[in-house]
């Protein structure tokens, strides 16, 4: 009988637009689709943040045309309290799920993981296609809540119960809005589970000859570790969302305790546990933060080392550190709940591993700095963003010292200090990782170079602007400025409003600067200089194949790998570097045996 080898993924190049660009099973196309989705999502999220920032700086300022977005949410263009919270929730949800998870992990990972391990495609291409379209559906469902009933939910991206679970009585958008939110996230989980399945199997089974796990580039390692986390984290969030939906539509009481009174009416639910939601959510939520940032670590290492023209001081230590971060991230989630009313002893129990996390993070930074030492650093947009990432990662990391301690968290919990912390360390840092990866890999993805001058302008505005926005957040937090307020009516917050005005202006300018990037992206896609196969003189497998790569990545000839990924700064036949697939002997090889 005719038995196809289980190892090969053989699907001929598709013909016809639909199979090629829409319902494609080619990991490269799917990667681009994820990237496009993330671009749309990040644009929506950014606009939302503008509107929120303006409202925070100048409450009751009429934003022209806002009522077109929602006539009840912004009567006479002035934002209502609930509408602010609704936009805030959507900003958080869209950014965390549809930008920070999709872009660095799903988008770049899909495109480059199979190429970097030397495979023709992912092992389950149809799951891969489903993974994207399911995620896309999730995005549509989420955005749909803007146009249903009294708008999206106002419960914040953490959707704490019982606010999220009691239904419409708790406020506008808490009925249909929450159901749509939870459905969207549950669907999203399915998509990411399918993706993770492919990523893990690709890394384990699809590596080409000689590509041992330790010879994988750091980016591939980051995606591998992230996919393992995604597999476990999203598998926990999905049931939580299902239970939340049931509390809404089926009248169960998983998260809603007895005798809650809203509008003088006793709610029908009984006996639910509000902390249950927090436990389930944060068991996902904290790993999710690392799901967002670890691909950034990998991408940045990959980009930096190429531009430092030397091998990483230690390939291994970086891999182990990323692994340690991943493992620890499951043991610390309780630090989001120090003052939540859970047992104060467990607060301490969670605080120590949280502090311990600073060790692997520090090691990562030190390895970067140590590799920077004595290197031959090449400055280009990609490396600038990578270095910017390090600076952000440090700045956002040190504020973790405070938040890891329950005693200090009494003062800083739910203040802008937290907002500043996670925006720097996971949000903006991850975004910088995405930018770095984009400027680095765009030639391979599109076949054309991006414009360096525009890129550098974009970097400078983003870098300075980001600090102008997020550093002041810490000061606000120290002064006790509570987050998730749509206006600052408390007396002690009045002197802080000028700071908010400053932040708003910085945010708008920085946001506008992003259009330079969009322009650069579109312009270079069509008019950019044609890209050579290996513009950065890099060593990993994505650079040995044609630009852009053929449908099966290596033109039917899978490479054989002879070296560790980053053989730079040595006399090779091809310059100061030897590519992973070049069989030549290296006198001063940096193989870590």
């Amino acid at each position: 009988m005719h038995d196809v080898s289980p190892h090969t993924v053989q699907h001929g190049a598709p013909t016809g637009f639909i199979r090629k660009h829409v319902f494609s099973i080619d990991h490269k196309v799917i990667g681009k689709q994820y990237y496009a989705l993330a671009l749309v999502a990040v644009f929506v999220g950014m606009v939302l943040s503008w509107v929120m920032r303006i409202h925070l700086g100048w409450t009751n300022f009429a934003i022209p045309g806002l009522h077109f977005l929602s006539s009840t949410g912004a009567p006479g263009d002035v934002m209502t309290p609930e509408y602010y919270l609704q936009l805030m929730t959507m900003h958080g949800t869209i950014m965390v799920f549809f930008v920070l998870t999709t872009a660095p992990f799903a988008a770049f990972g899909n495109f480059f993981l199979p190429i970097q391990v030397g495979a023709e495609d992912m092992p389950f291409p149809h799951f891969n296609m489903m993974s994207f379209w399911v995620t896309f559906l999730a995005f549509l469902v989420l955005v749909a809540s803007f146009f249903v009933g009294d708008g999206p939910t106002l419960g914040g991206w953490t959707q704490y119960a019982p606010l999220s679970a009691v239904g419409a009585v708790s406020g506008p958008g808490q009925g249909m809005g929450v159901v749509l939110w939870a459905s969207s996230i549950a669907i999203f989980c399915v998509g990411q589970l399918l993706g993770s399945l492919n990523f893990i199997t690709t890394t384990l089974d699809m590596r080409t000859k000689g590509m041992s796990l330790m010879r994988l580039p750091l980016s591939a390692w980051a995606w591998f570790i992230t996919s393992i986390m995604g597999l476990t984290a999203f598998a926990v969030l999905m049931p939580a969302c299902i239970l939340l939906i049931l509390d809404h539509v089926a009248g169960t009481s998983f998260f809603v305790p007895s005798n809650l009174v809203i509008n003088d009416q006793v709610l029908p639910h009984t006996g639910g546990s509000t902390l249950l939601w927090q436990h389930l959510f944060w068991f996902f939520g904290h790993p999710e933060v690392y799901i967002a940032i670890i691909p950034g670590l990998g991408i940045v290492s990959h980009v930096l080392i190429t531009n430092m023209r030397r091998p990483m001081l230690s390939h291994r230590v970086l891999i182990y550190s990323m692994g340690a971060l991943a493992v620890l991230s499951y043991m610390v989630y309780g630090h989001h709940m120090f003052v939540s009313g859970m047992n104060p002893f467990s607060s301490l129990a969670f605080s120590f591993p949280t502090l311990v996390i600073t060790i692997p993070s520090t090691i990562v930074v030190l390895i970067w700095l140590g590799s920077l030492y004595g290197s031959k650093l090449r400055i280009n947009t990609a490396s600038l963003f990578a270095l910017g990432f390090i600076s952000m990662f440090i700045s956002g990391g040190v504020s973790g010292f405070f938040l890891a301690q329950p005693s200090i968290d009494i003062m800083l919990h739910a203040t802008y200090f937290v907002v500043g912390h996670f925006h720097l360390v996971m949000a903006v840092a991850a975004i910088f990782g995405i930018f770095s990866g984009t400027y680095f890999w765009f030639p391979k993805m599109s076949g054309r170079m991006m414009n360096e001058t525009l890129g550098k302008i974009h970097f400078w505005l983003s870098f300075v602007g980001t600090y102008c926005i997020f550093m002041p957040f810490h000061y606000l937090g120290i002064a006790g400025n509570v987050r998730r307020y749509q206006a600052f009516v408390d007396d002690y917050l009045q002197p802080l409003i000028p700071v908010h005005k400053f932040i708003t202006i910085a945010a708008i300018l920085t946001g506008v600067a992003q259009f330079i990037f969009i322009y650069n992206l579109i312009y270079s896609r069509f008019k950019g200089a044609p890209a050579p196969d290996n513009p950065w003189e890099a060593t990993s497998l994505e650079w040995i194949t044609a630009t852009p790569p053929p449908h099966d990545n290596f033109g039917g000839k899978l490479p054989v790998v002879y070296h560790d990924p980053y053989q730079y700064g040595i006399e090779g036949s091809s310059g100061d570097y030897v590519m992973q697939n070049s069989p030549e002997q290296i006198k001063t090889a940096f193989d870590e045996k």
Partner: protein, 224 residues
């Protein structure tokens, strides 16, 4: 802008179909300059790795449900004991029987695919039996719901019944997925595009389903 080095990719001629693309292994390095052909060439077929990965995430999901159940039970005094519908125990027998028949058919199909077609007249027969038993199990679970309903216990009635419906429904959906997989195996077998790895993965999933069911039964029996 760095100068480009146009270097022909070093690569080997395309594998023949019985040879793998994957060549993982932890320390399985090609000696620099050495001959790639010398390499031991084995890595498990993706399907068999993939199924373990999938089972891992399913385990996580049900672990989450379990912890939810434990926390919820501890959170309030409104936990009411409900006695499990007796039919569940019959369903347990059914799904175990299905595992057994699937194992039988797996061996037969193996022999069949092994080229010894003469010995196996109709390899799909036991697969059909398994499919039937699977459907019977799902029907049985539905009957169990009806039994509970007749006692006036519905999804929102009390936390115990809520968790009973949620857990059985979640498990039932996974079983339906398994049935889809089996149907796919039957189809592939009939037009002889079936891979061993597909068959093994599917049966692994199926066996996991009844182990999972046994776990759920114990959980419900102890907790509810």
């Amino acid at each position: 802008m760095a100068t480009t080095v146009h270097e022909l990719p070093k690569s080997e001629p395309r594998r023949s179909s019985n040879e793998g693309s994957g060549n993982g292994g932890w320390r399985n390095l090609v000696p620099a300059g050495g001959d790639a052909r010398k390499l031991a060439d084995y890595s498990p077929p993706p399907a068999s790795t993939g199924i373990w990965v999938a089972l891992a995430s399913i385990t996580m999901t049900f672990a989450a449900f379990t912890s939810a159940l434990v926390v919820r039970q501890a959170s309030a005094l409104d936990w009411r004991h409900i006695s499990l519908p007796s039919i569940l125990y019959w369903n347990t027998l059914v799904i175990f029987a299905s595992s057994f028949t699937l194992e039988v058919s797996r061996r037969q199909v193996a022999t069949y695919m092994g080229g010894l077609r003469s010995q196996v007249a109709r390899p799909a027969r036991w697969l059909y039996v398994t499919l039937f038993l699977g459907l019977l199990f799902v029907a049985g679970q539905y009957a169990a719901w009806l039994q509970l309903g007749s006692q006036g216990l519905y999804l929102p009635t009390n936390p115990s019944s809520s968790f009973f419906y949620v857990l059985t429904a979640a498990h039932g959906l996974h079983v339906l997925g398994g049935l889809g997989g089996l149907a796919r195996v039957v189809r592939k077998l009939s037009n002889s595009t079936l891979r061993r790895s597909t068959l093994d993965a599917t049966s692994r999933y199926w066996h996991f389903m009844d182990v999972l069911w046994l776990y759920l039964l114990l959980l419900l029996w102890m907790k509810l």
